[in-house]
């Protein structure tokens, strides 16, 4: 016990960073952003499972696993059908991710580069904005970290556990596939740099990882084969790969800088100078790391892994969607942070001063995100503006605050043509009997839609709503 206290006292500054991480992740967890339509849809699956009282193997989609729904059950039962209950398990996974990444990075690059890498990763606006959303896809970084953690852990069951988490990750969401490919390829390449004994042990135990991978993914593979309706046309998707690749350079600055992720909340992209400043800083740091890192091979391998991930991702996705690129963007922030740590070591900044820099950096990033995401959101409850995203436009309406709408429609028979609005209300109805959502237009008294312009019509019943319009049916 004394040794733990001693260790904690020595590393109090890490605990400060962790405390900041907790504050950032728990603040307004249930209300910023507002419950998303997709969160509602995934949450409704929990309701269906509880209602049917039967074992379910199909998640919200054929490519989304059901495991996360089972994880959500105790939270829903304890806290009710609300955004907070859905997001709490995600934040818990985030906490595990924080410590696992610290362990991995520290073991590979030493404490200070690890801390800087972790700060840029977990305090980036991308992480703070996206990694609280209760989507299955949000767990991808968690599964990447756990599978890498077990691959490199020297234990009897390392391959078995690594394979299992890779399988569970892929089962959780098919978009994990590029990450899984990158993790496996990098692991195999990294074996070349290790001793002959480790290579032969690893290769002779690799089959155990394949078995456990299938244990994690087998059920979902069956679901993917049985329910293909929501999977689009993979052949056509593959054909358009080069088109997506060509569009990437246009998107890259706003993607890596976090500008588009900020716009999801506020509807406003960062100014162009700011976007390019952040973007080029990240690119500079990333390349700088290749020259100043003490573990050049490993650092280079990580970059290779990021590239493999990106190429594979562009190959399998049908369109640009921000959530697909979270892992890519976060990896770039991570390597930039590592590089910053190498730089501070290189120019011999005293250790204590580096610790202070780390805390200040975390605070700056936190303040940046609060200023660009939290405060504008709290002020307006989000935004329904559109913003450009590579080959298409994205709307910020998915994240708008729904609470003002709920007060307006209390005890009124409502309907919405918009699936995302309907999904949110359907989910919330399970705990809130004042929401009277009807199944079709015919039975409704009031119609809900997003407010896309400032024009207010005479049939509106809550003209003060900023992001929604509730109108009496004609």
């Amino acid at each position: 016990m004394n040794s733990i206290l001693l260790k904690a006292r020595r590393n109090y500054w890490v605990l400060i960073i962790f405390a900041l991480f907790l504050i950032a992740n728990f603040s307004y967890l249930g209300s910023v952003p507002g419950l998303m339509g997709d969160e509602g849809s995934e949450g409704q699956n929990v309701f269906e499972i509880l209602k049917s009282k039967q074992v379910a193997v199909v998640g919200e989609r054929s490519y989304i696993g059901v495991l996360i729904d089972y994880v959500r059950i105790p939270f829903i039962l304890g806290l009710g059908y609300n955004a907070f209950a859905l997001r709490l398990p995600i934040v818990i996974a985030s906490i595990v991710f924080f410590w696992m990444m610290l362990f991995l990075l520290k073991k590979t690059f030493g404490l200070m580069p690890a801390i800087f890498g972790l700060i840029l990763l977990t305090f980036s606006p991308i992480y703070l904005g996206e990694q609280r959303l209760a989507w299955a896809i949000t767990l991808i970084p968690f599964f990447i970290a756990t599978s890498i953690f077990f691959f490199y852990r020297e234990s009897k069951y390392n391959f078995l556990l690594a394979g299992l988490f890779l399988g569970l990750g892929l089962s959780n969401h098919i978009i994990f596939l590029p990450s899984a490919v990158a993790v496996i390829v990098i692991f195999l390449i990294s074996l070349l740099f290790r001793g002959k004994k480790i290579i032969s042990t690893s290769l002779s135990n690799f089959w155990t990882g394949l078995i456990s991978f299938w244990a994690g993914f087998g059920i979902q593979f069956a679901i993917l084969q049985l329910f293909k309706e929501d999977q689009g046309n993979p052949g056509k998707v593959a054909e358009l790969f080069s088109e997506r690749f060509q569009n990437l350079p246009n998107l890259l600055p706003s993607l890596l800088s976090g500008s588009v992720y900020i716009a999801r909340y506020s509807g406003q992209l960062l100014s162009q100078p700011n976007t390019f400043l952040i973007f080029y800083t990240l690119i500079f740091l990333t390349f700088l790391g290749l020259f100043i890192s003490k573990q050049k091979k490993i650092y280079f391998l990580i970059i290779v892994g990021i590239v493999i991930h990106l190429v594979a991702l562009l190959y399998i996705i049908d369109r640009y969607s921000l959530r697909y690129f979270v892992v890519f963007a976060l990896s770039v922030w991570l390597v930039s942070g590592l590089s910053l740590g190498f730089l501070l070591q290189k120019i011999s900044i005293p250790l204590n001063f580096q610790k202070i820099i780390a805390i200040v950096l975390a605070l700056i990033l936190l303040f940046f995100s609060a200023n660009k995401i939290l405060f504008p959101f709290l002020k307006t409850g989000g935004n329904t503006n559109n913003f450009p995203l590579g080959n298409r436009e994205e709307s910020a309406e998915a994240l708008v605050d729904i609470k003002p709408l709920l007060s307006c429609i209390s005890d009124k028979k409502v309907f919405s043509e918009n699936i995302h609005i309907r999904n949110r209300l359907t989910f919330l109805t399970n705990s809130n009997n004042k929401i009277k959502l009807v199944e079709n237009f015919k039975n409704a008294d009031y119609i809900i839609e997003y407010r896309k312009d400032s024009v207010k019509n005479a049939r509106e019943i809550c003209p003060t709503l900023i992001n929604f319009k509730v109108s009496k049916k004609k």
Binding site: V55, W214, G218
Partner: protein, 482 residues
């Protein structure tokens, strides 16, 4: 006098000779005895659909039967055509593996000499010779049981992992394997082979079990199980136990395997064989050494049968086939103990493995092979359990029927699915056979002789192939007029 067989070379020579005999027995009349069985035709149709891409790639014949067996059959069907032989070669491959696995498992559990007789009783039992050749997924279950046992009894580092994988694949192959997995776990717990404190160290079993069973589990949950086949239930369990008790004599004696082929029950042979088996099993339990192992084997078997009875909704020997093989193996162990105790110093001791093998093979040849080849099977009714009856028509030789309709340029139809399925499968490899999907589209109607709607055909004059022993082929119009 153990010297006769304790030497490695002698054992090897005996094993090699037994294996040779085993090969001959298993390849003998592989495609003729029995002829293509009704459900084999149905299995074959599943393979055809996979080849023609008409079926979801992960769906087998039923929700509780895996697709992998179909894929295993595909190269043989492509190589040997749509024939009985093509469907059965995979079974023979499994049987070859089973020979050696049985030897390894029994040797590890009971020791070399007893294992030899356990092996002989296992592989030359009527159950094995007559049933292991039929191309049903359920007939792969003994293979997976042996793979599971081989893993568990080995000293390999990852033995729990591989055991779980074999158990998972077995359960995936046919869900009636699950009681075997449960019986293994419960027996091990009862005999404290698994320490409760270390129970969590067996998590790798669960992981690999899921790896083997995951896909089928998803299919089972998605589509459920046809309730008339399986599902279990405590309400009917007591009556099922009573049925089980009345079925045990014909099942465990192995005489049911003869009845399935030639449609006759053998009450005297049943009593005689069962008595010998009970005597030998008692010896395996009473004579030293390895009494504890014999008791564990029997306990596991008992639990398996009880669970199996719970999950199946009707009795058929195929559900208890694994138990029959296991009980015969244990009887073989008992015989081995008897021989060691009383005949170890006699010269006959050296030749006893061959002598016992010969008796067992002759038993099957005399009661099954010869009558079947002579009469082309049967369509007689026989008791297929203690409570139900079935027609042997499902295994009657279909070759004469195929030869008959091959010459008739007409479209045929059989209302009996077990005839229709066989013809549908074989028609894929024979363009002369034209099968109608509906009765109204057919020129000729086919049924078993002596039963069913074809009985109206009083004389053989109207029949297209009056020489057939077990089938009638009549003009469809004649049937409709009647």
């Amino acid at each position: 006098m153990k010297i006769f067989l304790s030497k490695i070379t002698r054992t090897r020579i005996i094993l090699a000779t037994l294996f040779l005999i085993f090969l001959i027995v298993n390849f003998a009349y592989l495609n003729r005895v029995p002829g293509l069985v009704g459900d084999e035709g149905y299995e074959g149709l599943s393979v055809t659909e996979h080849i023609k891409n008409l079926r979801n790639p992960i769906l087998g014949r039923e929700s509780y039967v895996s697709f992998w067996v179909d894929y295993f059959r595909i190269p043989f069907v492509l190589l040997f055509g749509f024939s009985t032989l093509a469907l059965r070669i995979p079974m023979i491959i499994a049987s070859l593996a089973m020979f050696w696995l049985t030897w390894i498992v029994l040797k590890r559990i009971f020791g070399e000499y007893f294992a030899l007789f356990g092996l002989i009783f296992f592989i030359f039992s009527p159950a094995f010779i007559l049933y292991q050749r039929i191309s049903w997924p359920i007939n792969f279950l003994p293979l997976f049981a042996l793979l599971t046992l081989e893993s568990l009894t080995s000293k390999r580092k990852n033995k729990v992992l591989t055991a779980g994988l074999a158990a998972g694949f077995g359960t995936s192959t046919h869900f009636v394997f699950f009681p075997f997995v449960l019986s293994l776990i419960i027996s091990a717990l009862l005999l404290k082979k698994i320490e409760i404190k270390k129970i969590f160290s067996y998590w790798t079993f669960i992981v690999s079990f899921l790896a083997g069973f995951g896909i089928q589990l998803a299919i089972l949950i998605t589509y459920g199980v046809e309730s008339s086949r399986m599902g279990g239930g405590m309400a009917s369990y007591a009556s099922k136990i009573i049925s089980l008790i009345s079925s045990i004599p014909i099942y465990f004696s192995g005489t049911i395997y003869f009845s399935e082929l030639i449609g006759t029950n053998f009450p005297t042979l049943t009593i005689l064989t069962l008595s010998i088996l009970i005597f030998l099993i008692s010896l395996s339990l009473l004579l030293k050494p390895k009494r504890r192992e014999a008791a564990l084997w029997l306990l596991c078997l008992g639990i398996f049968v009880l669970f199996e009875t719970y999950i199946v909704n009707y009795f058929h020997i195929r559900y208890f086939h694994l138990a029959v093989l296991a009980i015969w193996a244990l009887a073989g162990i008992g015989l081995g103990k008897l021989l060691v105790k009383y005949f170890a110093n006699k010269k006959v001791f050296l030749f006893s493995p061959f002598f016992v093998s010969l008796i067992l093979i002759l038993l099957t040849v005399y009661f099954a092979f010869i009558p079947y080849l002579k009469f082309e099977g049967s369509t007689k009714i026989y008791a297929d359990s203690g409570v139900s009856y079935d027609s042997a028509g499902h295994s009657a030789d279909i070759k004469p029927l195929v030869d008959c309709i091959d010459k008739l340029p007409k479209t045929v139809y059989a209302a009996e699915p077990k005839i229709q399925n066989r013809l549908l499968f074989l028609a894929n490899g024979n363009p002369n056979i034209k099968i109608a999907e509906k009765r109204s589209e057919a020129n000729l109607f086919i049924d078993y002789r002596g039963e069913g709607p074809g009985q109206e055909s009083k004389s053989r004059n109207k029949e297209m192939c009056p020489e057939l022993n077990h089938f009638i082929v009549i003009p469809n119009n004649d049937f409709q007029k009647n």
